[in-house]
Symmetry: C2
Amino acid sequence: MKAIPEPSLRRLPVYLELLRELREQGVEDISCTQIGERTGQDPTQIRKDLSHAGAVGKPRVGFNVAETCEQLVDFLGWRKNVDAFLVGAGAMGTALLGHELFLKQGLNIVAAFDIDPRKVGSEIHGFEIFHLDTMNSLARRMNIGIGIITTPAATAQDVADSLISCGIRGIWNFTPVRLQTPGHVIAVNAALSSSLGVLCSRLAMPQP
Amino acid sequence: MKAIPEPSLRRLPVYLELLRELREQGVEDISCTQIGERTGQDPTQIRKDLSHAGAVGKPRVGFNVAETCEQLVDFLGWRKNVDAFLVGAGAMGTALLGHELFLKQGLNIVAAFDIDPRKVGSEIHGFEIFHLDTMNSLARRMNIGIGIITTPAATAQDVADSLISCGIRGIWNFTPVRLQTPGHVIAVNAALSSSLGVLCSRLAMPQP
DNA sequence: TAGATTGTTAATCGATTAACAATC
DNA sequence: TAGATTGTTAATCGATTAACAATC
């Protein structure tokens, strides 16, 4: 089986969001054409994306909404929530701690860290903020899969190194830095500045 | 001149971040090979990306750091900050209000809105939260270019419609919904769930 | 000058789109 | 059955990579 192309992978959460909504509305089946109307994607592409993810439809009927949801949740690795540490309790870190939506997206933040003495010991959205120095010993008793970096860019690589020594296997990086990681650790950038760049540069372009 | 490919456009903010850092360190020139070492991109691709953005280098010397920064800032439309309204003062909205980094990225949030009576009238990171109903009349006296949507997914389209009637030209959408907009309004998704999906599904894959 | 690096043209690779047979 | 929709194979399109001449 060929690996799924990354653009394809990035579209799956969009389909899943729609399908979950339809499921709540009690819709049983949906065709790719209809998904396309609601997500702005080409129906053929949707069919290919879903097929990459292992979803199967029925000719003349379409895709079963509930089944396809389950299949996408599995494929995205969102079935069992992965425990995560968050480092950097600034504005962005605070937001993520309060973003209960991640529970639907495979992520379970279990602890947050900072080095600012004004933050350490305080509580944000129900999470106590620990000092970064205590991270390693805390990690020992847990099974932490993902590290989330919401520190200033300058310290991102150091934080990544600490997280890796804690045994995490994936990093979700909110800084614009490209992190150096060993081969077994996967780093993905949230790339907020990239999407903001796309928006601003399009606005700055002479209107077509 | 051919339009810049979107993947290329998304990489520019990454280069800019690095170049700004180098400029602070007093570095005068840098070659694409060196940029590649620091960002993980192929040097040839960097050369092409920079050329798309209108940056020019000198053979045997490389690209002037300061000049290239300025060129990228211009190309990305980050020279003059665009005034923005933010709708939805939940966890994510609160984060963005506190994320002073956007001032370096062309964005100037001028007001924030919500409908929750517990939030309206309060102050978050120095921004007073207004009721959504007052948005239209406030917009009249201002020149708002961008609307940021950090509401629950279910209300995203309604909010988008309101923002459009305020005369904004671009939407930065933090919900997983695909927004319907008229042709002259550009909508870009921050797509947090997409990057989280990429990370989780890679973690779930059998290790290569 | 010699040599490193750019800028650009051509070749490759991969993703998207189109076409169509299979099937419920 | 007839017809809508899937699944898949082939064709197209566009982005990435390689090759190399231009140039400081």
